[in-house]
């Protein structure tokens, strides 16, 4: 291909890490993780369809240490992507572009995602 040596955008290697671009790349990474979550969701549905044996197998997999770690990760990714997605929606309608506002909403998004993740897993582990 003609342009294969052009730099790739967004240029991860050259930006100074600030809260704005850090949260932006986390949005992408959580999105990719949640794509694998979609794969897990469909696998779960297929296992229900396949019957008791397969369902127990998939259930045990989700219940293993790695499975629980993945579910915990997806919980954070979901709440982060959800709250930061709402932040993006506000930007799409032209609200919150001011630098201070963008920083504050970014911190808010992180806090909300962490609180909801910890809260949900407190319920899981208590129940």
């Amino acid at each position: 291909m003609a342009h294969s040596d052009r730099p790739l955008s967004p240029h991860l290697a050259i930006y100074r890490w600030k809260i704005s671009n850090t949260l932006s790349i986390i949005h992408r990474m959580t999105g990719v993780a949640l794509s694998f979550g979609a794969l897990a969701l469909v696998s779960w549905l297929l296992s229900i369809l396949a019957g008791q044996g397969y369902y127990s197998l998939v259930n045990d997999l989700f219940d293993s240490f790695i499975g629980r770690f993945a579910l915990f990760g997806w919980t954070f990714c979901f709440f982060y992507h959800l709250s930061n997605g709402i932040r993006h929606m506000c930007w799409d309608v032209g609200k919150g572009f001011d630098r201070l506002q963008a920083q504050q909403s970014g911190i808010l998004v992180l806090a909300v995602a962490l609180i909801l993740t910890v809260g949900l897993w407190a319920i899981v582990l208590a129940g």
Binding site: H3, R28, G31, V42, G51, N59, G85, G127
Partner: protein, 127 residues
């Protein structure tokens, strides 16, 4: 040889009128995924642990089946459009096309397998 710059060539031709579809689809699926994602998260929390019989009955509940199908469609579409943007940004040339087609095939497989499972589970549960 023309001395006109690429920008000069592009100016004055107006917008292409199309190309906004994916951007809009990403937003509309995002809006749909706010209630659908929260509903599914809470539902998973409330499902009793490990019972195949119960989960089949839960999926077969008409409202749950409909919401699950909507969730699978919105989630898989949102995932596909999101991953496509990332592939466009980071994977170039022939490998880029290959990755793009793979992403599309996997997502079509996911949406078909997901909807098929939900419908067949629902139909089977009534027998």
């Amino acid at each position: 040889m023309s001395l006109q710059s690429p920008l000069g060539k592009a100016l004055g031709h107006g917008s292409a009128k199309t190309g906004l579809d994916h951007w809009l689809a990403q937003r509309s699926t995002a809006i749909a995924l706010v209630p659908l994602g929260l509903w599914f998260t809470v539902s998973l929390l409330l499902l009793p642990h490990g019972s195949h019989e119960f989960v089949v009955a839960w999926v077969a509940e008409p409202l749950n089946a409909i919401l699950l199908i909507l969730l699978v469609i919105a989630l898989v579409y949102h995932s596909m459009v999101g991953l496509q943007v990332i592939v466009e940004d980071y994977v170039q040339g022939g490998l880029g096309y290959l990755t793009m087609i793979t992403v599309q095939f996997v997502h079509i497989l996911l949406v078909v397998a997901g909807i098929y499972s939900i419908i067949v589970i629902s139909l089977g549960a009534g027998q």
